[in-house]
């Protein structure tokens, strides 16, 4: 904590500027954007089979429907676009191709077989029904086990074992240390497949402007620049002729950090027909085709000393990647996310892992808030609870013995933690939650008022703000990694900030305006943030992976510094002082110590834009703007402790979260209210994953949970009040000292809630190794345990 920061807009709970239009119903989500006259609507014919050869497609009946403009199959589209190809030609990777509309085979229920073009979405639905496809059903594989079984059907002909990506590493001397340790523990954890289910599903409008030969592409995305580049590459239209706009986006959570086949098709048809095309997804289609997440299995082997000190960890990780690798994150994202996060807040030197991404006849999976980390910490913290229990230690005590508390620290994966507050966070969380007292009063039976009650503690880390080098190392070439900001003090003295990212509700407009305001000595309300439009904002990566504050913040700080220096030089010339003596605050540049010798920023802007009697000083360029990029050298690590209190009803198996405490450290906090909001929302995502959410494929590969009646999202009734505190340990690596925060809540909530249930049911000898803990499953475990005990 070497650096101290001046007070100013940063750190204030500034109310969000995003809210006013959203509260007035003036938001503009994709379906709210008025498309041009004569826009045509797309419908996608989805395969009803998980795995089937396509024998024939009869489009004639559909084409005859009034209002149907065209019906196209994969063959009609194959010349319009390149296949989606993402993974690099590097060891461990298998290069796969995906056709936006498949030609030979359907590989999951929802794979696209044909596209209809109609005058309105109703007719499009009619036409989709009228397309007659003849399939030859093939045996489908759905689960990891089935896919890896010898002789399993192949998803892609060119991948013999269905393993798309594989990575195996071991630290030097691992075997000896592992063998030598006195205690060994092995458990296998599984997390269910879940859906992002953003409240706004996907959608896009592709508008080809015939006169200019340009494509304007509105899409509900987190990564407009990546989408633009991908469209350019796959459709062969110069990226200078493509404008991608992410308007208001109704939730993304990682799922919208991808380019989807529907987007490619809409854009390709707009170019082909020189017209406008729109598609807005419905909820069933979202469940079927928007990337799923976290269908993972972790086999964890721990070697531990007699004192409970972790000596070595071995992990064997399997990720069900679904039918295809998705653009731009590819097949390795989730598989590598496990080992990358696994060292977490604990100090150990020996680590071995093998991780594999396995193809199945299911919807592709990808990033969802936290990527693999919630599953990883479900497994890691599950092991900590298990080991503590086996060794007769309090779970907190075991954690405390293993926590990294001295910084900087480099973990077994080589990741450097510059600063952190693992111990402090834990202490404060225990204090706030009354952990010691709770344990002291806790009955051994865990039964209180007819329910099993338990407490779970999770200490977690969150890797945030990764830059280009990290993505290149990971083989994610399609993710630039850097972000950029173009800041302008406009002629009026007000400020515009164009940031390369695109928000989905995080409050970018507010937080960025605070940073800009702080750095330029103005008030946030004088700053307008522009984002989400490739035409106006500089190139960059986008918003995902808890990178917003770090990447955008860093770019803003760098750009504003350039401007501030220029302001000082111009002010120095006006005030006949030295630039080194000039300070900038409250909308003025003034001579340090002589606040009356000052010149307003608006006057400096007038001079810079040549709208003043005074000419810009000799040698100075016109304008008052700067663009800067920021590419952090490594990941930055946030840390947190979550404490959850639950009650399990033995009669129904229902779990109630009774209390929840978080102490969190994401470095320097820009807007505490917004950070709180991020943590709250993420905890609810974690709570859903632990308690209720699961996408269920039957054995034939049919998805049985395709509505919000079948797929259970948490409601206000499910969420406890959350008691939260921030610790601020600024990063020494990042500009501004920021660390990321978007995903941490899920990462902590999953192990804390699972741990609390584990604690509540510990007298029954139940092990919590699988999610979700839905009532039937919990009840079945309780009944099985009781039955075992009575036997």
């Amino acid at each position: 904590m070497a650096q101290t920061y001046a007070r100013g807009p940063i750190g204030q709970s500034t109310l969000r500027v995003e809210d006013d239009p959203l509260l007035k119903g003036l938001g503009a989500f994709v379906d709210d954007v008025a498309p041009p006259k004569n826009t045509l609507h797309l419908g996608f014919v989805r395969s009803p089979h998980a795995h089937a050869r396509i024998c024939s497609i009869d489009t004639s009946a559909a084409k005859r429907l009034p209002g149907v403009v065209d019906v196209l199959t994969g063959r009609d589209l194959v010349d319009l676009m390149k296949p989606i190809q993402v993974d690099p030609d590097k060891p461990g990777f298998k290069i796969t191709h995906r056709l936006a509309v498949t030609i030979d085979k359907a590989r999951f229920v929802g794979d696209t077989v044909a596209v209809v073009v109609a005058e309105n979405p109703y007719i499009a639905d009619d036409a989709v029904e009228a397309v007659a496809v003849e399939y030859e059903a093939l045996p489908a594989v759905v689960s990891l086990d089935a896919s890896l079984a010898p002789g399993a059907p192949k998803i892609h002909d060119y991948i013999a074992d269905n393993v798309i990506y594989e990575n195996e590493q071991k630290t030097e001397g691992f075997d000896a240390v592992f063998t030598a340790a006195p205690h060994k523990f092995v458990r296998t954890f599984r997390t269910s497949r879940i859906a992002v289910a953003s409240m706004e599903a996907r959608g896009c409008i592709a508008i080809f402007e015939r006169g200019l030969g340009t494509l304007t592409f509105w899409t509900s995305t987190q990564v407009p620049h990546i989408v633009r580049h991908a469209l350019s590459e796959m459709l062969g239209l110069s990226d200078s002729k493509i404008r991608v706009i992410a308007p208001d986006v109704g939730g993304g959570f990682g799922m919208k950090a991808y380019l989807y086949p529907e987007e490619l098709v809409a854009a390709a048809l707009a170019i082909k027909y020189r017209g406008s095309f729109k598609w807005v997804q419905d909820r069933v289609d979202d469940f079927l085709t928007s990337n799923h997440a976290r269908d993972q299995q972790y086999k964890m082997s721990y070697a531990v000393s007699a004192e409970g000190i972790i000596k070595a960890i071995r992990a064997d990780i399997l990720v069900n990647i679904g039918a295809y690798a998705s653009f731009p994150m590819g097949s390795s994202l989730e598989a590598n996310g496990g080992p990358r996060n696994m060292p977490g807040p604990y100090d150990f030197a020996q680590f071995a892992f093998r991780t594999r991404a396995v193809a199945t006849n299911t919807c592709p999976t990808g990033a969802f808030r936290g990527v693999s980390a919630p599953s990883t910490f479900f497994s890691v913290e599950g092991m900590m609870d298990t080991i503590a229990k086996e060794l007769g230690l309090d779970p907190v005590e075991l954690r405390r013995r293993n926590l990294v508390t001295k910084f900087p620290y480099t973990n077994a994966m080589g990741q450097r933690y510059d600063t952190g507050s693992n111990g402090e966070c834990l202490d404060r969380a225990l204090e706030l939650s009354g952990y010691v007292a709770y344990r002291r009063s806790q009955p051994a039976s865990r039964l209180l008022d007819g329910k099993y009650r338990g407490i779970g503690v999770a200490t977690v880390t969150e890797q945030t703000g990764q830059g280009a080098s990290r993505y290149k190392e990971r083989g994610l070439y399609r993710v630039p990694g850097f972000d950029a900001a173009l800041i302008k003090i406009e002629p009026s003295g007000k400020v515009s900030a164009f940031v390369s990212q695109a928000a989905q509700g995080q409050g970018h407009l507010t937080t960025w305006s605070q940073i800009v305001a702080q750095e330029l000595g103005v008030v946030p309300s004088d700053v307008t943030v522009i984002q989400g439009d490739t035409a106006t904002v500089p190139f960059g990566s986008g918003t995902f992976a808890s990178r917003g504050a770090i990447l955008a913040g860093g770019a803003i700080i760098r750009a504003t510094k350039i401007i501030r220096d220029k302001v000082k030089r111009i002010a120095a010339s006006v005030l006949e002082a030295s630039a080194t003596d000039i300070e900038v605050a409250d909308g003025y540049a003034f001579v340090a110590g002589v606040p009356k010798m000052r010149v307003a920023l608006s006057d400096i802007a007038s001079i810079a834009y040549s709208l003043d009697a005074r000419l810009i000083p000799e040698g100075e360029e016109h304008g008052l703007e700067a663009i800067a990029h920021y590419d952090p050298p490594t990941s930055t690590v946030s840390n947190a402790t979550h404490v959850a209190f639950v009650a399990v009803d033995p009669a129904t198996g229902a779990i109630e979260v009774e209390r929840y405490v978080v102490v969190h450290d994401c470095g320097r906090v820009i807007n505490p209210m917004i950070v709180d909001g991020q943590v709250h929302g993420a905890i609810s995502n974690g709570l859903g994953q632990v308690l209720s959410e699961a996408l269920i494929y039957d054995e034939s590969g049919q998805l049985t949970t395709t509505t919000l009646l079948d797929y259970h999202l948490p409601t206000a009734l499910d969420m406890p009040t959350i008691q939260m505190e921030h610790m601020e340990t600024p990063s020494e690596i990042t500009l501004g000292g920021f660390k990321g925060v978007g995903e941490g809540g899920v990462i902590g909530a999953v192990p804390a809630l699972a741990g609390a249930v584990r604690d509540a049911l510990s007298p029954l000898g139940i092990e919590i190794i699988r999610l979700p803990l839905d009532p039937p499953y919990v009840l079945s475990m309780i009944e099985a345990a009781k039955a075992k005990r009575t036997n």
């Binding site: 006169g211 002629p491 009026s492 400020v495």
Partner: protein, 794 residues
């Protein structure tokens, strides 16, 4: 100028990139834009009186029409915006304001008194007819002479109807003038004219109440300046305002201004929270779009007996109309003419007095060439008179006075520096190409050939181009930044885009900028996208006007492209393990000079720069392949030309026909000869219109009588001769790229060349050509007068 090898696009006659969509009917002019749902249409009730006090306004009957949304007067809009004010506050300028809707008093016929907002433009016009306004007409001042009579009421508080006055006199002027043995003097007047772009003015204001921001599509040449004006008038941040100039159907200067209709439509869009559209019809355009060239110049030229110019004195009076327009203010015509008058001749002693006078007619302002056409009508007219007096040929007197190549850089009598030029060469070349000597030798004293009087006219002139910030500050014009800017990007896929602060209004700037980018970056021109005319997409700068595009915007594009080029060379050097200075960019590849097989695709260089490649960008060079640069031309850059016109005058009808027209021109390094020639053709046509037929006529009451194209005559294909053009290229050693401007020169030369040609044709009548247009009745009068009007001797 660092000379590096280029792929040769600069200088090539590339057919324009703009054309394809325009030829297919796919242009998007303001009225072509798909109006957003809920768009309302705005129409303007205009004062029928040139000067009147406004009494009560009754709207009840109008408000009863189905489809009307709002009828508003000044009172209804009070507080929504403030008046626009463009001038400096410094000696010579008298402060005045222009409020967008008449409060209490209308100062010209056409000033907006009330507005109607309705479902359709048809209904909006229906509404206007039923608004009843009580006017108390006031005496109107229509001419400069009337406006400055003692006792005439001031149109604006405390200005005495003088918007601006300025003067200058070279040290030693009086003595030099007094000593000269030969003096010619004449009073020249031009008629007030209209720019009459084929697309009238219009706007579409879309206010987003959710974001509290405004997108305004407007027929403007200067979107950035408009944005600042609107921000100022409404008290907003520029961040909240996006001005888009879509395709513009001709600008020519008057579309560089902010108009009351702009402000009112924005105010109403915001008030009603609905998109508001307006589109002037031709009658409104002819009556309310800024007019020009209502000039009276009294010139006196003093010479020695050899015809060598000794001194020049001019008194300039400009009828500026009712208001000083934003951004150029009240001085542009009066002071501009005075400053640009000295021209291509050796002139040591110069004096001027200039003033802009307020009257009850439509405001006047910049129109292609501003005052230069009049200035050279005067200068070249005086020279011809002096030649006649001295018995010299008009060509000879020019040859004796014109600046020679070895005299550059030359600083003229008012301190303007001419960097370089081909003044004498241009004249000689024109005389040779036109077989001037041969023509003269065949000419008879009567000039009468086959039923018509035929003559030739010469005009040599300078054109002030590419003025930068310091020039505008010197001239007292504060709202014109003077510099321009460009952002050049090579995108991840290896194609380029440039965002330029100027606006395409037909001059081909998309193509010329693309040529510069393609040239510097070694790309195919079809892989270069140019974006202009959108304040959200383009960097801040001045816009299009005053022959500054190639110099200021072209310079900015060139400089920004060269920055990107440098970075590309570094990455390529890294790839090819060669020194960046040995690398050339061509045809989409970077290759080692002399070893074309040692190459890397620009697309790959772009991928590296955008972290979309497994190869990292060279250390320390950062991501992206883009650069912003500005160009503020340090001085003014002088383009020179000679025009020769051959005319025939029908003595029965007075109709003048132009039989041949020759231009020899030097605008420095030519980017695209096709485009340069197009600029000259069009400008000559406008000069021809002004010289022969165009005139706005006001009645004594200030009513404008020429309100449509049946009365306000534009030249047609039958009036224009083929125009022969020869280019001389003397690149400026000072501007980026060596470019000079060219947009206005054609008008400047056409006026004096045609006037002098008619004078030559009517030589036997001693016709005094000192007033425009040379319309048939005027010409016939000149012939009829048939009396000896010898040039007055001193």
């Amino acid at each position: 100028m660092a000379e590096t090898r280029s792929s040769g696009y600069i200088g090539r006659a590339v057919p324009r990139l703009e054309d394809s969509r325009l030829l297919r009917g796919l242009g998007r002019y303001v009225d072509d834009l798909a109006a957003p749902p809920g768009t309302l249409h705005l129409a303007f009730l205009r004062s029928p009186h040139a000067h009147a006090r406004i009494g009560s306004i009754r709207t009840a009957a109008a408000a009863a029409i189905p489809g009307v949304h709002v009828i508003a007067t000044a009172a209804d809009l009070a507080g929504l915006f403030t008046a626009l004010r463009a001038d400096y506050e410094r000696p010579g300028f008298n402060r005045s304001e222009w409020y967008s809707i008449a409060v209490d008093r209308a100062r010209y016929a056409g000033e907006i008194v009330a507005v109607a907002v309705a479902d359709s433009p048809y209904v909006a016009e229906d509404v206007l007819e039923l608004i009843e306004v009580e006017y108390a007409p006031l005496p109107a001042v229509v001419t400069v002479a009337d406006a400055v009579k003692p006792g005439v009421a001031s149109l604006h508080p405390n200005i005495g109807n003088v918007f601006f006055q300025g003067s200058f006199k070279s040290p030693g002027f009086d003595a030099a003038f007094a000593a000269a043995p030969v003096i010619v003097r004449e009073t020249f007047t031009g008629s007030r004219i209209a720019s009459a772009p084929m697309e009238p003015r219009g706007g579409l204001a879309v206010y987003d109440p959710g974001r509290d921001d405004l997108t305004y599509h407007a027929t403007t040449q200067m979107p950035h300046i408009m944005r600042t004006a609107i921000a100022e008038s409404f008290g907003w941040s520029e961040s909240q305002i996006r001005i888009i100039a879509p395709d513009i159907g001709g600008g020519f200067g008057p579309k560089a201004y902010i108009y009351p209709e702009d402000i009112l439509s924005i105010a109403l869009a915001r008030k009603l929270e609905r998109p508001v559209k307006w589109f002037c019809d031709r009658m409104e355009d002819l009556q309310t779009t800024l007019q020009a060239r209502d000039h009276r110049f009294d010139g006196e030229l003093a010479l020695d007996r050899q015809g060598i110019i000794q001194a020049l004195r001019v008194r300039i009076e400009v009828n500026a109309g009712a208001y000083a327009g934003y951004p150029f203010g009240s001085s542009i015509e009066a002071a501009g003419g005075a400053v640009m008058m000295p021209g291509p001749y050796r002139l040591k002693y110069y004096a001027y007095e200039a003033r802009s006078i307020a009257t009850n007619v439509c405001p006047a302002g910049a129109y292609r060439g501003v005052s230069q056409p009049t200035a050279f009508f005067v200068m070249e007219g005086l020279l011809d008179r002096a030649a006649a007096k001295l018995g010299l040929d008009p060509a000879e007197i020019r040859l004796r006075n014109i600046l020679h190549a070895d005299e550059f850089p030359y600083t003229n009598a008012i301190g303007i520096r001419y960097d370089i030029g081909s003044y004498e060469e241009c004249l000689k070349r024109a005389l040779a190409l036109g077989d001037y000597a041969g023509y003269r030798s065949r000419q008879t004293p009567t000039r009468f050939v086959e039923g018509k009087y035929r003559g030739v006219g010469i005009a040599c002139f300078t054109e002030h181009t590419g003025q930068g910030a310091s020039r505008y500050r010197d001239r007292g014009i504060r709202r014109m930044p003077g510099y321009d800017s460009a952002v050049v990007k090579v995108l991840p896929g290896g194609k380029a885009a440039a965002y330029v602060s100027q606006t395409e209004i037909g001059q081909g700037s998309i193509t010329t900028c693309a040529q510069i980018v393609a040239d510097r970056l070694g790309l195919d021109i079809n892989d270069v996208t140019i974006v202009e005319g959108d304040t959200s997409l383009t960097p801040h700068g001045s816009g299009t006007g005053a022959s500054r595009g190639a110099v200021a915007a072209g310079g900015a594009v060139l400089r920004a492209a060269d920055k990107v080029r440098e970075k590309m060379l570094r990455i390529a050097g890294d790839f090819l393990e060669a020194s960046p200075k040995d690398i050339e960019l061509n045809d989409g590849y970077a290759h080692v000079a002399g070893a074309p097989q040692l190459r890397v695709a620009i697309a790959e260089i772009a991928a590296v720069a955008h972290a979309a490649h497994d190869r990292p960008p060279p250390k320390g060079h950062g991501f992206g392949l883009e650069a912003t640069d500005h160009y503020d031309p340090p001085h003014v850059y002088i383009t020179n030309a000679t025009h020769l016109a051959w005319v025939a005058v029908d003595p029965a009808t007075g109709l003048v026909s132009v039989e041949r027209y020759l231009v020899v021109h030097d605008c420095g390094r030519v980017i695209n000869p096709l485009v340069v020639e197009g600029q000259i053709h069009g400008a000559v046509a406008q000069g021809l219109g002004q010289a022969l037929m165009e005139r706005i006529v006001h009645g004594a009451d200030g009513q404008q009588q020429t309100v449509h194209f049946l009365d306000y005559l534009l030249p047609t294909a039958l009036d224009l001769p083929p125009i022969e053009i020869a280019h001389l290229e003397t690149p400026s050693p000072e501007t980026a790229g060596g470019f000079k401007g060219v947009g206005e020169g054609g008008v400047i030369g056409a006026l004096p060349a045609l006037a002098n040609a008619v004078a030559d044709a009517l030589k036997s009548f001693n016709a005094n050509i000192n007033r425009l247009p040379l319309a048939p009745d005027h010409v016939l009068d000149l012939i009829d007068q048939h009396r000896d009007r010898r040039v007055t001797a001193a």
